[in-house]
Symmetry: C2
Subunit: 305 residues, 2 copies
């Protein structure tokens, strides 16, 4: 268990700021990370990269913004509209700019002087992979090892609920059976990486916060069909279980809109094992304490700290 003395996640967040791991920016869930914090996160990323290399996965770091057309095809707009971040840009001339400046300086709304761009903030690291797979897959399917900063608009004092956070995923696209196998066996590999880092892990069915009236049915479907499993561990308080890894069976959720076919001509399925890099970093700090020198030697070694 933790040797930190905080009793709730807000206190834990304050302790991390006090110890210089996180830097507030004045906005809940938008935080700078110290070099020490980044070293822990990068140690974890290297372990996931090593797994990806074993699988022969194509490794890609995606930027934090994605093609809006791709984003709209993922159905995220339907399922989680309250979490997404659209990007709006200014395309006016001198006259519109003068009006924009007048409003900005007097604290008035200037959002209608902008227009929606053809890019969107990334909501998940794996989204850009699917349009890259359009067409027919090789018979063994395809593995990807992808990383990006993601954005979800859910301001919170809880350091484990950042608005802008790092996600690292091992994705498989192929036959339904192999996709299910990747979700199940792959999640076990991921959990074993985290257990070796000293984290107590539980695995439970995920219950994502689908939006609104339609969302209730979608959440029930996700649970009933056990499409997504989460690995949880305490962060900030012994009874505050947080999902730090998930295994998600997408079925044809991406294969169908992005026209991906298996070698025998069926609609491809996909699955991912997603590591919440920031949450895992926080869980390690909660579990092993804020003094890196006192972390267990085998954990320091595994993370090359």
């Amino acid at each position: 268990m933790s040797d930190t003395t905080t009793r709730n996640t807000t206190d834990f967040g304050l302790a991390l700021v006090e110890a210089g791991y996180l830097f507030p920016t004045g906005i809940q869930g938008v935080l700078g990370r110290s070099s020490n914090y980044a070293a822990i996160a990068n140690g974890l990323n290297a372990l996931v990269d090593a797994w990806g290399a074993d699988l022969g996965a194509t490794g890609i770091q995606f930027p934090p913004v994605v093609n809006r057309a791709t984003f709209e095809e993922t159905n995220y707009v339907q399922s989680f509209p309250d979490l997404m971040g659209a990007i709006h840009v200014f395309t006016g001339g001198n006259k519109e700019h003068a009006e924009l400046m007048r409003r900005s300086e007097s604290g008035k709304d200037w959002s209608d002087l902008l227009e929606m761009a053809d890019v969107f903030l990334a909501s998940a690291a794996c989204h850009p992979v699917y349009p890259m797979c359009t067409g027919t897959l090789p018979s063994e399917g395809k593995y990807f090892n992808v990383f990006s900063y993601c954005f979800r608009h859910e301001p919170s004092e809880d350091p484990a609920r950042m608005q802008t956070f790092q996600m690292h995923e091992i994705v498989f696209v192929g036959t339904p059976e192999e996709a299910q196998e990747h979700r199940d066996a792959g999640l076990e590999v991921g959990i074993s990486i985290l257990r070796r880092l000293g984290l107590d892990m539980d695995v439970i069915p995920a219950n994502d916060p689908f939006f609104g009236r339609l969302g209730t049915a979608m959440a029930k479907g996700q649970l009933d069909e056990v499409l997504k499993l989460e690995g949880t561990t305490p962060i900030g308080s012994p009874d505050h279980q947080v999902a730090i890894i998930s295994g998600n069976c997408h079925r044809d959720h991406f294969g169908s809109p992005f026209s991906i076919e298996t070698a025998d001509g069926a609609v491809a399925h996909s699955a991912c094992v997603a590591f919440g890099v920031d949450r895992i970093t926080l869980a390690l700090l909660w579990n092993h304490g804020l003094d890196l020198d006192r972390w267990p030697a085998e954990v320091r070694e595994a993370l090359t700290l």
Copy 2:
């Protein structure tokens, strides 16, 4: 000189995609980076981190979004409105969501159903540093070693003009004399790092693309007062000189709006040396070729490749 055979930057971009260093996403200037590409970038980041450590700089990785209030204080809205990226979010209920879905599915504009968030896409890695300095500085000033993904809305086929790119800066905040000294001596340190990596570097006064009628005067002032210097090197073609590092003397541009004072009560000045991590990675690939195994041994060693 380069052993690549491309004659212009568009060809060089295609060669990088062909060789698997960059992955197109369907949007100009929004590109995935391969593991090899990331290894080069990270090798450079480690060299900048080592310099930051020598200076006793506080190291911070910032996320790709910043506090909107901070962004508006930096004057970026006035100088480069055409490059910025605002973030808009959905805060409606079931009824508004239904309308949003109707419009999204029929390809109609749904931007007016969103509202401007209190976060903005980062335009420069150093912006979040200044509100952290509000108040009185220690007598020796403060150094920061900061990194973030930045966004500038300028779609282009040129791989050296990405919309979303990585910036790594060594920032100083303190007296006017020390800030000027950091810009001048610090830029030389940065240039020497790049020369050791085998890049031919020229240093010229910068001529930033300030927007509109007012911008013409601002650009002239920047040039006349030599506030910003750029280190350039060819990318993609021998005569395509690209700025890959800059030294920028901000004077009181940030000290004044963010109420930063030196130990003796004067308005603080600031300066930064900014490494364009993606452009430097591209310059190295252009200069040393697309086969990492054939790069000079001393460059591979410096980048721990």
